[in-house]
């Protein structure tokens, strides 16, 4: 699909409004890919192509797909099979991302497709992330214009690209994000951070915020448990900071895998040094899922120790997730120590902010508040 035809489709989608939404809701199981040409790849010898979208740099022969399963080479043309084919579109609280300093207490429209470029054995959304479009039974059929129309119908202030890794539906995400900005919607994504710098910088022109999974400080953890690499993720974090999009980091703590105090300390030092002390960091509790069903849930004491280390290293906004009712679900002012956003799990019950500043001491709290 060309840029021009895409814009025409967007216009049609907006004009269609509710009728189109209704038709999409009734969409049945039709998983025929209608591939759109991918961006960020180059042709090599013959019909082989080299994908330049993520750190993997897959060399893809004619008729084959990359590790992400979504980018397929058709006679030397790389295509995205999931363009316009989301598998999950839901309205969710923004806190679920988690994103604590970005329009707290609001609901956002969340969009996901199939597959991923990582192979994490603890993936919470493995039903979506560890399969291809062909294996997804009820993929929908929603062009970018219709998606933004859906967001406006739901009266949400932002759309989020989440559930599975948005890198693997880059073109679809990019077009929705661009159109969303044109229509006044905010955009955020929840990513594993494996995107290459060039496509990332291009995307960030249309992205207001990002939650990045920094899965561990150890390179071995990335290699053994996620089938990925750590350093591209660190590069992604610094680029997001440079480009000025709002950035938050999640670290899912798995007992005995990525919870060593010296690793947590090294990670926090790096975050403070490279990204700044105001970067929110979430330590999330692991519960057995996917292939890691024989591992204990993370002890709360471990999460509290991680938080103490992070605070001691100078980070200002460190929370604990997946432990409903824990005081560290909430956000505290680093100036006066008062609670400025009261949360119970992902429910916000009180916001004590005045024009972006602490309602108690007036200290400016970084974030996207309105």
């Amino acid at each position: 699909m060309t840029r021009r035809s895409f814009l025409i489709a967007c216009g049609a989608g907006l004009a269609g409004g509710g009728a189109m939404l209704s038709r999409m809701l009734q969409a049945g199981p039709n998983n025929e890919a209608r591939p759109a040409e991918a961006r960020f790849y180059r042709r090599e010898e013959g019909t082989t192509v080299a994908c330049e979208l993520c750190f993997r740099g897959c060399r893809i022969r004619d008729g084959e797909a990359g590790v992400c399963r979504n980018r397929v080479n058709h006679a030397g043309v790389l295509s995205s099979t999931v363009y316009g084919r989301p598998s999950a579109v839901n309205v969710e609280p923004v806190e679920k991302e988690p994103m604590h300093h970005f329009l707290p207490g609001t609901n956002i429209l969340c969009i996901g497709t199939a597959s991923c470029n990582f192979r994490c054995r603890f993936c919470h959304n493995w039903h979506l992330s560890q399969r291809s479009l062909e294996e997804v039974r009820h993929a929908l059929d929603i062009e970018p214009g219709a998606m933004t129309g859906r967001a406006r119908s739901a009266a949400v202030p932002a759309v989020s690209f989440t559930y599975n890794e948005p890198t693997v539906f880059y073109e679809y995400m990019y077009d929705i994000a661009a159109l969303a900005h044109e229509t006044g919607l905010r955009t955020i994504m929840h990513t594993n951070g494996g995107m290459n710098p060039r496509p990332l910088r291009a995307l960030l022109r249309h992205m207001d915020g990002a939650t990045v999974d920094l899965k561990a400080w150890s390179k071995e953890f990335y290699a053994d448990i996620c089938g990925a690499r750590r350093d591209p993720v660190l590069e992604t974090l610094t680029i997001i900071r440079e480009e000025g999009a709002w950035l938050e980091i999640v670290n899912l703590v798995l007992p005995d895998h990525n919870d060593a105090p010296h690793e947590i300390r090294a990670m926090c030092r790096w975050i403070r040094r490279e990204l700044g002390e105001a970067t929110p960091l979430h330590f999330s509790r692991f519960h057995p899922t996917y292939r890691m069903t024989h591992l204990s849930p993370t002890p709360v004491a471990t999460l509290e120790r991680c938080r103490e280390i992070a605070l001691a290293e100078g980070l200002h906004y460190v929370s604990i997730g997946n432990v409903p009712g824990h005081p560290a679900n909430s956000t505290y002012c680093p100036g006066c120590g008062e609670q400025i956003i009261t949360r119970h799990h992902f429910t916000v019950t009180r916001i004590a902010l005045d024009d972006g500043g602490c309602a108690h001491c007036g200290r400016a709290i970084p974030g996207v508040w309105s």
Partner: protein
């Protein structure tokens, strides 16, 4: 030790064979327990272990049968006993280390299918092979003057040992000792048996030359050494076994300290401590986390269920309630809560952790814990409930599947008061139902919908389904008003949270998805839910296996029918037309009897598990009844087929055919038995009546199978006839191989796809082929 030839045959050799039988059964049960903990503990694992055990034992029996021909046959018995004794603890340690090794790449990652198969092969190959070889070799010790009678006797004597082993394991050893302690006891037993075997040979060897006398002395010395070793092993092993146990278990649960590791008749319970927090593992899987349970899940489930009823005064929770679910239900104005927990050891172990949430559950005067299977309780209770809540269960086991069947839903509906609600959960997703997840949910949802007039789905990481015969009011506003009335506002359950969790649009969208997915209803004896559950499990752990479970029923039937046709051709071509045709026909008869007996065993166990729920405890009793029946049946036919009062060959052949006919009828009768058992559930003392009925029918089945073996032995032609070891090896191999193939085929393919009735009819047809072959010969 100096024994005469007569005393050897009448006392020593039978004692050795009893020991072999007891050691084999006990070893098999210990290894099953080890495998259930290290791998993914489902009936699939039991089927694999049983199949591999029988398969390798059959192979061992065949090899042993060949060995019985050799001049060293007698010497091989003590060697085999000693080797088996060493193999048992060795494979336990090795399996744990290999499992820990496999885990070490990713500690906490569950074994996949390939790894489970590997572990099953690892534990059974050395042990079952050696044990299988011991049977024909030890049968050979009984002498060859009356080969047929000796083989039959050996079979029956081993049966006695197996009965003893099963009973001692289930009622005496399993609840008290660790796996390695039991194994070390078996080391001592087998070394003593080996010494006994050597000594026995010492007494029976002919002394025709100085050489053989010297050999006799050597054997005596070896026997004495073995006896001393056995004594030392018996004295020293417990402490060593305990140390080894602690070390290997520590490797298995590497992410914390194992502070408790206990076995009950139902499973293994381990408690692992890390940073002063405890996780309770049941058969290797974490089920409770203390003092911080998974509140987001447990509170959400408990409160949404409780809020679906205007006044949940009488509440029944079936399993999975300790460590959070009960606590959060009791936060509502419940007047009386009954909690059924099948494993009485679990409350004991959890109470020992002494976490505030567990203390609150235990000390609440409204809560009553009943140590019984939930479904059995539901069958027996005369009370009606406002709310019945099923604890979270994984559905890919038969044990759990029976709580999601049409029959269960009917039972639950009958126990609900006016406006009563049944709440249950399934693996789910807030975002998307994949193919396997969708089919699983669709099947169970449709099964519930076939019973209840009103259903409501609340999507979540586990989908919550509410079912009632009255309209359900699950509007966020109603739920919020009920919260207010109950004084439970605040915390996680805000108005916004309820609007999000009870969003009607999301519920309708997911429900519409379920309606679109074609899925079979889940029944007790046609467990479609098990197939869908295994598919879901397979998606994560064995994507390559999915094909076996994604066949549509018609394709499965075609595959099975095609397989049978091909098998019949092979059978006809290779077995029956060969020169060894008469022996092959007898082997086929015994092989199909092995398959029929295994199928009978499995279905009786499935029925008891489904309706009564106490399969593990029942297994020992069942095995004892079955084997006891086999012993009696065998004794009767030995008397009619061997010795001076033996029937003439023609009448023996007719007896064999009659027994085959009885076996066919027995398979068909199981269908009636299952329905009778279901009807019995409403009677007082249903579990006692059901158990007695199952035990009686098991004894009858055992008698039929046991009676056939000596009859077949009596008919076996030369050259097998004149050799005890060889005839025993051949027929025993056929018996075990039939059982092995049936264990896998019935559990994995036939039962889940075809259901009970068709599977039994198919097996009855298979047994009919044996009758045809017998009659045609």
């Amino acid at each position: 030790m100096e024994l005469t030839d007569r005393s050897v045959r009448s006392l020593a050799v039978p004692a050795i064979i009893i020991g072999i039988g007891a050691g084999g059964m006990t070893g098999q049960l210990v290894l099953l327990r080890v495998l259930m903990v290290v791998s993914y503990g489902t009936e699939l694992v039991i089927a694999f272990l049983l199949a591999f055990w029988l398969g390798f034992e059959a192979m061992g029996a065949w090899i042993g049968g060949r060995g019985a021909f050799t001049r060293r046959a007698r010497a091989l018995v003590p060697v085999g006993l000693a080797a088996y004794s060493v193999a048992l603890p060795a494979v336990i340690v090795l399996t744990r280390l290999v499992a820990a090794g496999l885990y070490r790449l990713t500690p906490g990652e569950a074994m996949g299918l390939g790894q489970t198969l590997l572990a099953a092969v690892l534990v059974t190959l050395p042990t079952a092979l050696l044990h299988g070889a011991l049977f024909p070799l030890s049968a050979h010790l009984l002498g060859s003057a009356e080969a047929g009678r000796a083989t039959g006797r050996a079979y029956l004597i081993e049966v006695i040992g197996s009965i003893a082993g099963a009973l001692v394991f289930v009622f005496a050893l399993a609840p008290r000792l660790t796996d390695l302690q039991i194994a070390s006891g078996l080391v001592a037993l087998h070394l003593a048996l080996a010494a006994f075997a050597l000594a026995a040979q010492n007494g029976t060897m002919p002394r025709t030359s100085s050489g053989s006398r010297a050999s006799s002395v050597t054997r005596g010395t070896a026997a004495a050494a073995l006896a001393l070793t056995a004594t030392a092993a018996a004295l020293l092993a417990p402490a060593a076994a305990e140390r080894l146990h602690t070390a290997t278990i520590g490797r298995l649960f590497a992410t914390g300290d194992v502070v408790s590791y206990r076995n009950s008749p139902y499973g293994n319970i381990a408690v692992v401590e890390r940073e002063a927090e405890h996780t309770v593992f049941y058969d290797g899987r974490p089920i409770i986390s203390l003092p911080y349970p998974d509140t987001a899940r447990l509170m959400d489930y408990a409160w949404l269920a409780a809020l679906s009823h205007p006044d949940p005064a009488e509440v029944l929770v079936l399993g999975g309630g300790m460590g959070g679910l009960l606590f959060h239900l009791l936060e509502h104005p419940v007047e009386r809560l009954v909690y059924t927990e099948i494993d009485p050891l679990l409350p004991e172990v959890v109470a020992a952790i002494d976490a505030p949430i567990v203390r609150a559950e235990a000390q609440d005067p409204r809560a009553h814990v009943v140590p019984v299977d939930g479904r059995l309780y539901l069958n027996r209770t005369r009370r009606s409930y406002d709310l019945v809540v099923l604890g979270d269960m994984e559905i890919e086991t038969l044990q759990a599947n029976r709580f999601f069947t049409v029959e269960f839903f009917r039972l639950a509906r009958d126990r609900l008061g006016p406006g009563g609600v049944l709440a249950f959960s399934l693996p789910g997703s807030m975002t998307y139902l994949g193919a396997e997840l969708g089919a699983l949910n669709a099947s169970i949802y449709a099964s519930a919908a076939s019973v209840f007039s009103h259903l409501h789905l609340i999507p979540g990481d586990r989908n919550t389904i509410l079912a009632s015969d009255e309209p359900l009011d699950v509007q966020p506003a109603t739920a919020f008003a009920r919260l207010d009335d109950r004084g439970l506002g605040g915390g996680m359950f805000t108005r916004g949270y309820l609007e999000y969790r009870l969003d009607p649009a999301r519920s309708e969208r997911f429900t519409a998805t379920l309606h679109r997915i074609p899925a079979r209803l889940n029944h007790d004896f046609r467990p479609a839910g098990l197939i869908y559950g295994l598919r879901y499990w397979g998606r994560a752990f064995a994507p390559g296996m999915l094909a076996a479970f994604t066949l549509p029923p018609a394709a499965a039937v075609a595959l099975i029918a095609g397989g049978l046709a091909a098998g019949a051709l092979v059978l006809h071509g290779l077995l029956l037309r060969s020169r060894a045709s008469p022996a092959n026909r007898l082997s086929w008869t015994i092989g199909t009897t092995g398959a029929a007996a295994m199928t009978f065993d499995l279905f009786t166990l499935f029925a008891v598990q489904s309706l009564l729920g106490f399969i593990y405890q029942f297994t020992g009793l069942f095995a004892a009844a079955l084997l006891g029946g086999a012993f009696v049946g065998g004794r009767i036919t030995i008397a009619r087929t061997h010795g001076r009062r033996a029937l003439e060959a023609k009448r023996v052949a007719r007896l064999l055919t009659l027994l085959d006919v009885a076996l066919v009828l027995q398979l068909v009768a199981v269908i009636g038995f299952v329905h009778a058992l279901r009807a019995m559930m409403r009677l007082p003392h249903a579990e006692v009546l059901g158990t007695v009925a199952a035990v009686l029918i098991a004894a009858l089945s055992g008698a039929l199978a046991g009676a056939q073996f000596p009859v077949a032995v009596a008919l076996i032609p030369e050259p097998w006839r004149s050799s005890v070891g060889r005839s025993a090896g051949r027929l025993y191999t056929a018996d075990l191989a039939g059982g092995c193939i049936a264990a896998v085929a019935v559990t994995i393919l036939l039962f889940p796809h075809l259901g009970m009735t068709w599977t039994l009819l198919l097996l009855a047809t298979l047994k009919l082929t044996s009758i045809v072959f017998l009659v045609s010969s």
